[in-house]
């Protein structure tokens, strides 16, 4: 029932991005409560020795009474995490064959992730980029952070072509602490170059997640007749036969996906292919799994 609300086509009809995020995440979280595998509420995580400056409210006084030593009781829900979303706004993201462009799907996904992080009291930030960084909201847990992120997502405009070097260099400069970096892009570049660009972040202990957004038409293009195709980013045109589009192209794109996936796994990066015709829950589930497991 709730799955229906996660359908991208349904979400497209909702005007506000915050409302979209709230609809998706609330519905998604409510669904999770029914599943023991995904419970994550205020669970006890560990004890830590008191250090001066720690909040006395978190001291386990029962332990102190028995041992006269002060320990702080920590819960999973209270473990802070820094989520940085890298949202690709290149022109190729403007493509969409199912009534929704990839960029809209990416916006929903980014908003949902930000909303989810906000609900977890994680610091969340966003980087809007194409070949350069177009907008940057640093991760924070301050009041109004979610609104800032959503505004940045909403006001982002389609840029030119994808270029990972500059945005990732920028992210490396401001990433001072560990966190999760989620990259939402269609990754129309060579897998080697992509992984080579994003992998350095991983060395600093940052968890990297690649959300690879592809339209069904990109996976299995349907041509009834020879067609003149125009590259959205470069403007280059090429006549393509239906035969080629039906047989050779799908093999090549699958090889491309497999290449990215294997290289990402090799670099310790989480890779998740998202078909824009499918609901958003897969991506959210991926995020939560990482967050739970890695903290």
């Amino acid at each position: 029932m709730l799955q229906r609300f996660l359908d991208p086509k349904v979400l497209g009809g909702i005007s506000g991005l915050d409302l979209v995020a709230k609809t998706v995440v609330d519905g998604f979280v409510a669904g999770l409560h029914r599943s023991p595998d995904f419970g994550f509420s205020q669970e006890f995580a560990e004890y830590r020795a008191y250090a001066p400056g720690d909040d006395l409210r978190h001291v386990d006084w029962n332990v102190f009474a028995r041992t006269e030593k002060m320990f702080l009781k920590r819960y999973r829900g209270e473990t802070n995490c820094q989520l940085t979303i890298l949202l690709d706004m290149s022109r190729s993201m403007q493509f969409g064959s199912q009534g929704m462009e990839k960029i809209e799907y990416a916006r929903f996904l980014a908003a949902c992730l930000a909303y989810l992080a906000h609900g977890q009291r994680d610091a969340a930030g966003i980087v809007i980029f194409d070949d350069e960084v177009r907008n940057f909201v640093p991760p924070s847990t301050r009041q109004g952070q979610l609104a800032r992120i959503l505004h940045a997502i909403e006001s982002a405009k389609i840029g030119t072509r994808t270029q990972f070097e500059n945005p990732f260099r920028h992210v490396q400069e401001f990433m001072r602490r560990r966190g999760i970096v989620v990259t939402i892009s269609d990754f129309w570049d060579s897998p080697e170059k992509i992984i080579k660009t994003v992998a350095p972040l991983r060395f600093r202990g940052t968890e990297l997640v690649l959300f690879h957004l592809l339209d069904p038409e990109e996976l299995h293009p349907k041509l009834n007749a020879p067609a003149l195709l125009e590259d959205l980013e470069t403007g280059e045109t090429l006549e393509v036969s239906p035969d080629y589009a039906a047989h050779e192209y799908p093999a090549k794109i699958q090889a491309h996906i497999a290449d990215i996936k294997s290289r990402a796994q090799g670099a310790g990066i989480d890779y998740f292919l998202i078909d824009t015709s499918r609901p958003l829950d897969g991506a959210l589930r991926e995020y939560l799994a990482i967050r739970r497991g890695k903290l």
Partner: protein, 680 residues
């Protein structure tokens, strides 16, 4: 090369349509946006190039279709040498088998000519054998098998028909137009002048046709019984008169002396009378035979002239006669008109064939008589008709009998005309003083009863009974509008009304020349003999076997050899049949009437005079000259050769190719699932 309808070439402008579709419209194709072309490689262009070639081929085929369609409507032709169309010869060998070819051994000579022509055929030459009579009968197709051609020549039988060279020309024209072949027509015939058609235009040949004559025999004197006039029925053998016309058809070098010939009248194989006549060269003589002692029933008559000429078949002339008893005419009179009886009897008995016998009866006596044996009944102004007589007459007429009602002073007092059932108004009078009389002003001269009455010219009518015609047809009127002769059909029979008397009181008709023809014609009409078909016929005439009324009854025809001519189906369904040879045919029509038909050949065949050489040259000149060449031959040998069949074939082929290419070019790409299935 030319075009019969060049305006249709404007349709070639329609080629602009595929140009627009394929070349102009193509540039307006919007490119389809795609995120990245990184997996589309240059080498894949080959398939597109292949399709582009198909695209151009499709364009070329469609343009060709439109051009071919426009050319097809423009109907192009080329002028080709007729001989070049087919290097081999095509011969039509016509053998005349008409009645005149019975002369001596003309037919066998004509066959010999045909055989020699067949022997002269070169390998690959084709020929057709046709037999020429009243119609042209093709005995073979255009074939090159000499054995079959010879067999066809052997199968030609003598006929009694009249040759028609007009029919031959028409057949050759049709053959030449349908086969598109130059024909060489060989005519083996006696080339009778009488076989020419009335108009020379009917002899016209196709320009590609060459005519070669093979004259058989030469014109020689010939005697023939040209015509015989004999009564169809004999009632009194002593009164029969048979007239025969003997004709002499002279040759070009005949002596100018008359010839004595014996002419015999033969009946049922027995010579009854013989006469001698003098016949001038090229002239005619009459032989008249009085009396014909024929037995009752049908007899086969024949007039013969002494033989000795080249064509013995026309020295006799068949005729058929039927001996019968005179038929009774009942003249009902109350005794008040003795002169009417006298005049009517005299007129009826003056007829040469004595067909009728008058019987006088009073009305009360007539009422008790059997009327069915009477040829017809005359009611001569008897005033009140007894009811029993009127009933008997009505039955008689309804069953097919006829009544002549004569009105006079006694009828003027009646309200209605007996049988005709018309109201009697009054009597029209014209005083004798001062030449006040009435004449006939309107008359249906085509009616069988009034055919030879000369419009009753000079006959003065002083009194006529005025009858208002409501159900009857008026055949003659007086000049004051009073109907004089009326006719009404009643059941199967008919009633004729004469509104004045037959004596010399109310008119002077019996004293005029039109009286006897009127009585004769009206009697013949009322007795029903006018509708009979003739029994003396020319070969190729048609005889009626049945009317629309008697469909299921069977008819029968026996030919002169006694063979049945009709199959079972024809016997029950055929409306008529053609008599195709001389002799006596026995006929039983579907109505059950038995008739003996005498059939003789058309006597124009007896005139063996040949067509003048100038006429033959003119006839030949309507076609092509044999072996003509040079400037004279160019106009006749060159003929327009239509190209539309080839264009149509080409158009069909191009249309099929267009369908195949368009199918390949526009076929939707197979889905990956289908492709996988096919691969599996």
């Amino acid at each position: 090369m030319g075009f019969l309808a060049p305006w249709f070439l404007a349709g070639i402008a329609a080629v602009g349509l595929p140009v627009w579709i394929h070349l102009l419209k193509r540039h307006k194709t919007d490119p389809r946006l795609f995120p990245s072309l990184m997996f589309f490689e240059k080498r894949e262009m080959s398939s597109v190039k292949h399709r582009r070639l198909e695209y151009l081929l499709l364009f070329a085929l469609r343009a060709a279709m439109l051009i071919l369609l426009a050319l097809l409507f423009a109907n192009p032709f080329i002028r080709r040498d007729a001989a070049a169309v087919d290097g081999r010869k095509a011969l039509v060998i016509a053998v005349d088998r008409s009645f005149s070819m019975r002369a001596a051994d003309h037919l066998s000579k004509a066959k010999d000519e045909a055989r020699s022509l067949i022997s002269a055929l070169k390998p690959g030459d084709r020929a057709q054998i046709v037999a020429l009579g009243g119609t042209v009968q093709a005995l073979t197709q255009l074939i090159s098998d000499p054995a079959e051609l010879r067999a066809a020549v052997e199968s030609i039988q003598q006929s009694d028909s009249r040759a028609s060279f007009g029919e031959l020309s028409r057949y050759v024209r049709t053959l030449s137009e349908s086969m598109h072949l130059p024909l060489e027509v060989h005519l083996a015939s006696d080339l009778q002048k009488s076989a020419l058609p009335p108009g020379f235009a009917d002899l016209r040949l196709d320009p590609s046709t060459t005519l070669v004559f093979h004259p058989i025999g030469r014109p020689v004197p010939n005697f023939a019984v040209e015509n015989v006039v004999a009564p169809r029925r004999i009632f009194d053998p002593k009164k029969v008169r048979v007239q025969a016309t003997i004709a002499s058809f002279a040759g070009p070098d005949d002596k100018l002396e008359s010839v004595k010939k014996n002419v015999s009248l033969v009946l049922n194989g027995k010579v009854q009378q013989t006469k001698t006549v003098d016949i001038a060269p090229g002239g005619r003589a009459q032989a008249e035979f009085l009396g014909l002692d024929a037995p009752y029933g049908f007899s086969k008559g024949e007039v013969r002239v002494d033989g000795g000429d080249i064509l013995p078949a026309d020295d006799r002339f068949f005729f058929a006669v039927e001996r019968a008893d005179p038929r009774k005419v009942l003249f009902v009179d109350d005794g008040r008109h003795p002169r009417a009886q006298l005049y009517y009897r005299a007129a009826l008995e003056s007829s040469g064939d004595a067909q009728f016998q008058l019987e006088i009866a009073r009305p009360d006596v007539a009422a008790n008589q059997q009327l069915s044996n009477d040829a017809f009944v005359v009611l001569n102004d008897i005033g009140t008709v007894p009811a029993s007589l009127e009933d008997a007459l009505k039955k008689y007429v309804n069953a097919g009998g006829s009544v002549l009602v004569v009105l006079g002073p006694a009828s003027a007092a009646q309200v209605r005309v007996p049988l005709a059932d018309e109201s009697v108004e009054t009597a029209s009078y014209a005083g004798r003083e001062g030449d006040r009389f009435l004449n006939v002003s309107e008359l249906d001269a085509g009616h069988p009863a009034l055919r030879s009455v000369e419009r009753f010219s000079g006959v003065k009518f002083y009194q006529a009974i005025h009858v208002t015609p409501a159900k009857s047809r008026v055949l003659a009127r007086l000049n004051d509008g009073t109907p004089l002769v009326l006719e009404r059909t009643l059941g199967e029979g008919k009633v004729l009304v004469f509104t004045s008397t037959f004596d010399n009181v109310t008119n002077d008709l019996p004293l005029h020349a039109s009286w006897v023809p009127f009585v004769e014609r009206s009697a013949a009409y009322l007795a029903g003999s006018g509708a009979e078909q003739p029994v003396n016929l020319i070969v190729d005439s048609y005889v009626e076997l049945r009317t629309a009324d008697n469909k299921s009854a069977a008819a029968e025809v026996l030919d002169p050899d006694g063979k049945r001519l009709l199959s079972l189906e024809e016997a029950t369904s055929a409306r008529n049949f053609a008599v195709d040879k001389e002799g006596f045919f026995e006929l039983k029509t579907a109505s059950g009437r038995h008739t003996l038909l005498a059939v003789h050949a058309d006597r124009r065949e007896s005139d063996l005079a040949a067509i003048p050489q100038e006429t033959l040259d003119l006839w030949r000149a309507t076609g092509g000259e044999p072996g003509a060449s040079g400037p004279q031959g160019t106009s006749t040998d060159k003929k327009p050769w239509p190209l539309w069949p080839w264009l149509l074939l080409l158009l069909l082929l191009v249309a099929m190719a267009e369908s195949l290419v368009a199918d390949r070019h526009l076929r939707p790409a197979a889905s990956p699932e289908t492709a996988r299935k096919e691969a599996a």
